[in-house]
């Protein structure tokens, strides 16, 4: 079954969607979308370095995404304005990455595959990496759920309950870097944040509690992956954008349904 590339791609897409769901909720609640952009755009630089150093693309992307995220957190603690800081770092990282890739003349590199994902490229080992990464992120989310949620509501409330908000922030950051690294093959670096945010935003009108929002986001994300990859195969469209288009459609539907329920 795993010999069929479409099955592998679909399983990969579902893995990413499931890991992205709870994390995506925190990205929405904490308004970290731009932060996610900075982290994922930096991954292109990681890919270039990985190809130059002849190490795995996953490792390169993970390390650089992590370095980027931790740098941004450290700088914002020192009083830099967050949106400006992210605007500078997100786009610089992408630009530097693209320039770095252009230096790799000896390597035949399909840049589009990294920017938008590549349905054909998900091999068995990729699948293993995706599911291991997804499982790791899910475990972290489940383990730290209450603490993360309390720290998201209010730092003072968290501290008074013996939770260190800084530590929770680091856990989110590490999870984000892992999701970015495993999602590159499926959706590409430009649209990873869409996979985090759109399913969560689509789940919002249907949820009454944080837990149900995360679960519904997972279902919507997985559905988007399945339908998007199917469409990508049938119409020969790029994988990542196709998945995101389906997710955006589901977002519209759920928000219209939500309106009716309120009215």
């Amino acid at each position: 079954m795993l010999d069929d590339f479409l099955v592998r791609a679909t399983l990969g897409g579902i893995g990413v969607a499931i890991a992205a769901a709870p994390l995506g909720c925190f990205v929405v609640w904490r308004r970290m979308a731009y932060f996610g952009d900075a982290t994922s755009h930096a991954a292109i630089l990681g890919i270039a370095l990985a190809l130059a150093l002849n190490i795995s693309v996953f490792t390169g992307a993970l390390v650089i995404a992590l370095v980027m995220a931790l740098t941004v957190i450290t700088l914002s603690d020192r009083g830099f304005a967050m949106d400006t800081l992210l605007g500078v770092t997100a786009h610089s990282a992408l630009a530097v990455g693209l320039v770095a890739v252009s230096f790799l003349s000896g390597v035949r590199l399909d840049l589009m595959a990294y920017l938008f994902g590549d349905i054909l490229a998900v091999g068995k080992s990729d699948l293993a990496v995706i599911w291991l990464g997804a499982a790791l992120v899910l475990l972290l989310m489940v383990w730290r759920w209450s603490a993360l949620l309390t720290a998201t509501l209010n730092h003072g409330l968290a501290s008074a309950s013996g939770i260190n908000p800084k530590r929770e922030q680091v856990i989110l950051t590490v999870s984000l870097a892992v999701v970015v690294a495993v999602a590159i093959k499926v959706v590409g670096v430009l649209l990873i944040v869409a996979m985090l945010i759109i399913p969560s935003a689509a789940a919002r009108p249907l949820a009454r509690n944080p837990e149900s929002m995360a679960v519904i986001a997972g279902v919507i994300g997985a559905l988007s992956a399945v339908l998007g990859l199917r469409a990508s195969y049938l119409y020969d469209t790029p994988a990542g954008p196709s998945i995101v288009c389906v997710a955006a459609g589901l977002f519209l539907v759920s928000n219209i349904l939500g309106r009716f329920r309120v009215a």
Binding site: W29, H155, L157, A160, R208
Partner: protein, 245 residues
């Protein structure tokens, strides 16, 4: 029994000294209020006591197994985060259903349990936060300007509730307040803060201290403090001070 004792604490925040050489203690069942102008380190003091920031110098001693219930100054819940009051009260640890219902009934808000947090009004929100703090079964209740955004009857009702809870449960209460008239009537002790402890003691003693007058001796709140003070006793010197300011 002393719950929290602070000895010569200095806290630096972003290169500036927020608190300098502060001594402080609070005992079982006491209501202590911290007053001071904006930027005087009131919130910093609260955050040091709950353990959110570590002192640069000096030490904080908390009694063994101290349970703190904390009501933060402001808590904005983003509308993108769906959470019912019931679920909110179980964060970070699950609480039994009956305890949640009792706590909400205690603060007079048991009709809110299934409402979404972001739909609550200011007063409903503060009551919910207080209920959450009570669910911790606190020895010490810390409230950082709990009536910000409430109108006068609303905040008067809220402070009465706090006093009732103290009487009923014997919980020590530490609060930051701008409402000096409330401070004067509801506190056992007042600490006047301005980067350091300006003066402290029983409300009427603090009200008549020159340091306090120097900080609050003008404007409406000063007038309220003065009004209250006139009924207690007469300090010619202090009053001259206030009029001059």
């Amino acid at each position: 029994m002393t719950l929290v004792n602070i000895d010569a604490m200095t806290v630096q925040m972003g290169g500036t000294t927020a608190l300098r050489n502060v001594d402080f203690s609070i005992s079982k069942g006491e209501i202590v209020t911290v007053v001071g102008p904006n930027g005087s380190g009131k919130s910093t003091l609260m955050r040091a006591i709950i353990g959110a920031i570590a002192p640069n110098k000096g030490r904080i001693t908390r009694s063994e197994g101290l349970r703190i219930g904390y009501v933060p100054q402001s808590l904005h819940i983003d509308p993108t985060l769906p959470i019912t009051v019931r679920r909110f009260l179980s964060l970070p640890n699950r609480k039994p259903r009956e305890e949640i219902e009792t706590a909400m009934a205690r603060v007079g808000a048991d009709n809110l349990l299934d409402k979404q947090m972001f739909t609550l009004s200011g007063g409903q929100f503060q009551r919910t936060l207080l209920a959450r703090a009570l669910l911790e079964k606190p020895d010490l209740l810390i409230l950082d300007e709990p009536t910000t955004g409430l109108d006068q009857p609303g905040s008067a009702a809220f402070y009465r509730l706090i006093e009732d809870i103290r009487t009923e449960l014997g919980t020590a209460v530490l609060m930051v307040s701008h409402e000096l008239h409330v401070v004067m009537s509801a506190s056992d002790r007042v600490i006047c803060l301005n980067g350091h402890v300006c003066c402290h003691g029983a409300p009427d003693v603090v009200a008549s201290a020159p340091e306090y007058r120097a900080l609050f001796g003008s404007g409406t709140q000063g007038a309220l403090a003065l009004y209250r003070h006139d009924h207690d006793h007469v300090h010619d010197h202090a009053e001259d001070h206030a009029h001059a300011g």
